[in-house]
């Protein structure tokens, strides 16, 4: 199998990737080669959204991105949204709303909410549901997640 060597721009830094296999996903490279394990992997077929990251500002499933094809693009993972120990407004709203239970879906959902509110600062309830449809949560029943989005919108309005 071909070993690949390339550089990815992740969370504002150039990160060297050594010995990637040809066709390896961005999810696998982030977690197993770069140690960025905040991004979760579950279905590896784009169904669950737990591996969501931003590539050049677009929300994508990192399991469906061939890592070596993302050279030169700006990749933002959950580790890149806020400094460690200082949650950003979306993360804080998830905590305040009790939208985190087992926590496995949370990083992907945080990325999805960032993507949504970046484009639509005042989404309707239907828009929120449609935009988060690609992120599966098996604990919360989604009510508190929708609440967390609403709280974030309110916090940003007061700023």
């Amino acid at each position: 199998m071909t070993a690949e060597h390339f550089v990815l721009h992740v969370n504002g830094e150039d990160r060297e990737v050594l010995d990637s296999w040809l066709g390896e996903s961005l999810l696998s490279v982030l977690r197993d080669r770069l140690g960025l394990t905040g991004t979760k992997g579950a279905c590896e077929q784009g169904e669950c959204g737990s591996c969501s990251v931003l590539v050049d500002g677009d929300l994508v499933c990192s399991c469906l991105v061939m890592a070596a094809s993302a050279v030169g693009q700006r990749i933002v993972t959950i580790e890149g949204v806020a400094p460690e120990g200082a949650p950003d407004d979306v993360q804080q709203a998830f905590v305040d709303a009790g939208a985190v239970q087992c926590g496995f879906c949370t990083p992907g959902l945080i990325m999805a909410v960032h993507s949504l509110l970046g484009r639509r600062p005042h989404p309707t309830d239907t828009e929120v549901r449609e935009e988060l449809a690609g992120n599966v949560c098996r604990c919360t029943g989604y009510g508190r997640i929708l609440d967390a989005v609403e709280r974030t919108v309110q916090v940003r309005e007061r700023r």
């Binding site: 784009g46 929300l59 061939m66």
Partner: protein, 287 residues
């Protein structure tokens, strides 16, 4: 580098000339699933198409009344105006594809290349009479979509050939897409239908997805629509709608599988057609 990331069509064709057996990677939403699960491997060279400028562009030609959509245009982009206003059925189909994440990466060209029986864009392309532009180091050609789709995940693409664009007519009339799945989001079509009514040409197209090896056309039902429709109001008498729905069901060639039964699918395409023709009528004179 075994993964090439060209940014122009010229570079892409040079790369294809150098590596005729290269794997072409569009959005990756189909092929990466295969690689992740180890069911398939890319060949020794991968040409990633997501940053080829010509493939990412669309162009409306009002004089020709066509919209040329680059093969790398994503579903998210097709949901947005202007393309969504020019080919609304394609925008409706785009909105039913996967999730926002999938729609941000999945492309129209990839949908054509994969040629799944359930591909959401394909009934729309067939109903609208799209042509697909292909390029290879040897040259270019243009193929009607119905000739390009030849079977379950099989196209008439030749080795070393690349889908560059899909050209769609901008119709005066009405068009719509509807699909049945197990829920409202993130579903593969159990059955789907696109109806296109071309007021200028006086023609109707009804294309069915997920009920055959590839997209099927309901020719007898189309003829009955043309015979019965009031082109002013797009109204069709109720008893005729019932006959049209049964002709559509009869045109389907569905199978039983883990997603649904043949009986249900046959029934569903009739219901969806009736629903779409009802919408055409209720939206009335303007498209």
């Amino acid at each position: 580098m075994p993964v090439l990331v060209p940014t122009t069509l010229r570079e892409t064709l040079v790369a294809l000339d150098d590596h005729p057996s290269a794997t072409l990677l569009a959005g990756g939403t189909d092929s990466m699933v295969e690689y992740n699960e180890g069911r398939a491997r890319p060949s020794d060279t991968v040409i990633a198409l997501s940053r080829v400028a010509e493939l990412r562009a669309w162009r409306h030609d009002p004089a020709e009344a066509t919209l040329r959509v680059g093969a790398g245009v994503t579903w998210t982009e097709l949901m947005e105006v202007p393309p969504a206003a020019l080919v609304p059925a394609l925008a409706e189909a785009a909105r039913t594809v996967g999730s926002p994440q999938i729609r941000n990466t999945g492309t129209l060209g990839g949908n054509v290349a994969t040629c799944s029986p359930a591909g959401d864009g394909l009934p729309v392309l067939s109903a609208l009479g799209a042509t697909v532009q292909l390029a290879s180091p040897e040259g270019e050609r243009s193929v009607p979509i119905d000739e390009l789709m030849i079977g379950v995940k099989r196209t008439a693409l030749r080795p070393g050939e690349l889908i560059t664009a899909v050209t769609l007519p901008v119709l005066e009339g009405w068009q719509g897409y509807a699909k049945v799945g197990v829920r409202n989001a993130m579903v593969i079509a159990v059955a789907s239908v696109c109806v296109a009514l071309d007021r200028e040409a006086g023609t109707a197209a009804i294309a069915l997805g997920s009920v055959g090896p590839t997209v099927l056309r309901a020719a007898e039902a189309e003829a009955l629509v043309v015979a019965a429709i009031d082109w002013e109001t797009l109204a069709i008498p109720d008893d005729t709608l019932t006959r049209i729905a049964s002709l559509v069901s009869a045109a389907a060639q569905p199978i039983d599988d883990h997603r649904s039964t043949a009986d249900y699918r046959r029934h569903a395409v009739g219901v969806l057609t009736r629903r779409l023709l009802g919408r055409a009528q209720s939206t009335g004179v303007t498209s």
